[in-house]
Each structure stands twice: as structure tokens, then as C-alpha cells.
Amino acid sequence: MKKLINRPEDIVAESLEGLAISHSDILVVQPGARFVRRRTLGRGKVALVSGGGSGHDPLHAGFVGKGMLDAACMGEIFTSPTPDQIVAAINAVETGAGTLLVVKNYDGDVMNFDMAAEMCDHALRSILVTDDVSIPIDGRSTGARGVAGTLIVEKILGAAAEMGWPLDRLMILGERLVAQTKSMGVALTSCTVPANRTPTFELNDDEMELGVGIHGERGQTRVKLDNADAIARHLVSKVLQCLPVSESGDALILINGFGATPLIELNLMARSVDQAVRHAGLRPVRYLVGNYVTALDMAGCSVTITLLDAEIEALWDAPVHTSALRWGC
């Protein structure tokens, strides 16, 4: 294992510190606190709080700022934050209009956010992100897990919250968004959890894992490595099978790298995905390409498609100023 770190147990805190140092104009990390919050809170707006295990950078801390999250609680690597931590973050950014939690659907995240919610007594709702389409429904009754689509949910809810939407309306938007956002991923390698020093699993040089999450865990099936066009066709067809047909056919596409995927490959995948999506009759009108929802040093990528309508598209285009996503200001 080779990483630019000091002691494995200090990675999360030191990395958050570095993030705050390099973005001190927009972010605050309270020393010792394990959450990041916006430097300037929007009074009277619903507070948008998310979080989860670390190792998915820039998710979630990199999405804190104007037009997106108000706070992000970062747990240990791949470990949901604890309820006390979540409560502290909520209390730091709640300004009276209530709080909306964005939670990726993992047993750990759900349980810790649930416990936190039970400990708070102001208005609080949560949106569960369930965009991954790779998990077979049989056997699991708690729904799909949340992966890269979380970014899209956070960006669009963040824009609406910034415009002053009330909690109830945000909930309706959030649930609609989750229903219209689906993802599927492929891994070329696993990743190394720093405290473990060896990769979570090994893949041969001619293999890939299809249907992976964002924790370096095994996927649904191990298959022979294929070329970019074939991978794109497969991911896109799986994703589209799970999306309700949309009227306009307009779509937002996220080509997301898992942390160790060079941009040259992600750009190339954008071309392959674009072909597959158009072939299926959709019109990709917005693109985001980069390493945004990662699994430490895992190589591979996921494709997320969100069906757009005029409202959602306008919210996507609305100004955002975070460390990892910025436009319009």
C-alpha cells in the first residue's frame, strides 16, 4: 500500500483540515469536530445536511457550499458517521427552517442517521438515495444502495434550498429526483483501506467486476475485461431498464471515476456513453465527467442518468460554489 498519508488513523481528520485550509473562503471545520460546514449560512433556508463514510472524496465534504450542502459529516473510511456527530452538524447549520438529511441507503448510514434524527427535536426529514441498479431485488427488501447519483440529488436539492423552498416541497422534489436517477458501476481494481494495507479483493489482469458499489467491495459478477464501448453499452442498458420513460427524453449524464481513473479515460467513456444513450433514444443535454464519488484508489467508473424536466434542469444549472463543483459564480 502506498499512500500520501501520515498515520492511517489520522487520515480523515488531516484530510478535512487540508480541505478547509485550501477553501477557507467557503468552509469551516471546527477543530476536533468531524463535520464541515459552510462559512456563511443562508438564514431562513432549510439546512441541507449529508454525510457518510470517508473515502468517497469529494463526496460529501467537497459539496459543501453555496447552492449545495450546508454541512457534511464525515465518518471513518467507509464507515458511517456516528449519531452524535450528525446531531452536532445539524445543530451547527439549522437556522429555523428545518433540516433535510440526504442519506445514502446503507444499513449503517440509515441506522446512524435514524438515531441522530431521534435525538433532534426540530423539523427534520430525510431523503434516501437508492440509485444503484446492480443489486437484484430478490432477498433485499430495503431497496438499492446509494452511489454516484447522490451528487446529483445533493446539487439539485441544494439549489432549491438556496432558493428558499420549504421542507415539504424539497421532500417531494427529492423523492422525484431519486426515482429519476439511476447508476451502475464497473471496477477494474478494488481499493486499499489504509488501515488494512492490502486491497479488499484482487482481480486478474483480464477481469472486471460489474455492478460494484463505492466501497471497493465485490460487485455482482466478475467478467472478462471489455472495451469502453461495450462497457458503456452494458452500463447504460442496465440503467435505462430501471428508469421510467421520460417525455422529453432529456437526460443529465454523470460519468464518475472511482478515484484512480485518469480523466483521459473518463472523457473517452463520455463518448462511448453518449453513443449508447443516443442510441436508446435519449438526448443527453447535460454532462458531468470526473472523479466525484470515489472509493479511495479504486479504478473504474459508473454511469448515472437523471431524467430531466425544465424544473430539474434549471436547478442543475443554478449557481453552485463548493470546492469540487462550481459554476455560475
Binding site: 432477498g139 430495503t142 458499489g213
Partner: protein, 214 residues
Amino acid sequence: MSQHSDASFPDLSAAIKRRLIEHVCETIEEHAEELTRLDKAVGDGDHGINMSRGVRAISAETEQLVQLETPRILQRVGMILVMNIGGAAGPIFGTFFMTLAKDFRTARDQASLAQIFEAGVESVCARGKSRPGQKTVIDVLAPLSGLLLSGKPLSLAAFSEAASAAAEATIPLQAQRGRASFLGARSIGHLDPGARSAELMIKAVCSVLAKECK
């Protein structure tokens, strides 16, 4: 388990409490690598790291803990686990201990203990939206609860063995909760890491009690 005729067990001595805390913590620490290895096979490869972060936080408070009454210890241990582990294991084990704490004062005999234990198991099911057979911690806790409730006289050794058998029995299951459920049928054939942790803690408790309480 031995029976007492008075309203509740007399509380354990500070020495036994210390031994219990130390031995549970040591056992988890000693098996941390194994737990992580199990979690690499069906999860995200951090269960040992998570559990040892939890027990280290407990160890750091041993001196304060042993001064407390057992229900307060259970309550505090649960809190420490919740606040330090995170992930799935934190709420699961934390909720279990915190629930045991609630009625522990009324523990009088195997029957009352069984009810307390059962309440613990139920709280874990509620927290995790889970039930037996889904390849989780519950597949160790629920059968033990059943054993206690059955009313059959039960030795510490038998209880210990039942924990091991229950953990072992998670191997052929297909996971339906936790990260292992993402693997579908690929989760079959692996021991559930959380079940192994539960087994280790139960066995650690039984071995201390067997030695110290005869």
C-alpha cells in the same frame, strides 16, 4: 445459570466487572484482523477496524466503568460503541447494550434474564429493520435468546457453544441485510463478520463468568 431467591442479583464485584470488560475488549482486539478479513470477503473490509475502535474507546474508560452499577455500565458501553464505531456495527451493538441496560435491574433468574436478552434482540431487529435468517449479528443473538427463553437449564459452556454454532450457521445463508446483501448469491459460503463479533463477545463474557463466578 445459578439462581438467587432475592429480588435481583447482587451486583458483580468491581474485579469481575473489570475482568469482563478487559476480556471482551482483548478478545475483539485479538480477532480484529480475522474480522476484517471476513468483512473483505463479503463487505467493505473494515469490521475489525470498526470493532477495535469501539473496544479501545471502552478500554480507555475501564476505571470509570467498573465503579458503576452493571446496568449503568451496559448503558455507557452501548453509548461508547454508538459514538465511536459508526457504520452498521455501531448502532447494532450499541443498541443491544443500551437496551439490555434498561431492565437489567430486574434480572433475577434465567427467565427474567431471557426476557431482557430478548428485548435486546428485538431492539436490534427494529434498529436494523432485520430478522433472523438474513446473515447478520441477529443470527447469533436470536438463537441464544430462544435458548434462554426455552427455560431449559443452561450451562455457560453450553451457551458459549450455542453462540459458536449459530455464528457458523451463517455461512450457508444468503445475506439480506448489510453490505453482504449487495453480493446476492455470492455472499453464500462466508461467515458473517458481525455474527463472528457477537459470538466472540458472548464467549468472552461466558468464559470470565465461568472462571470468576463458581
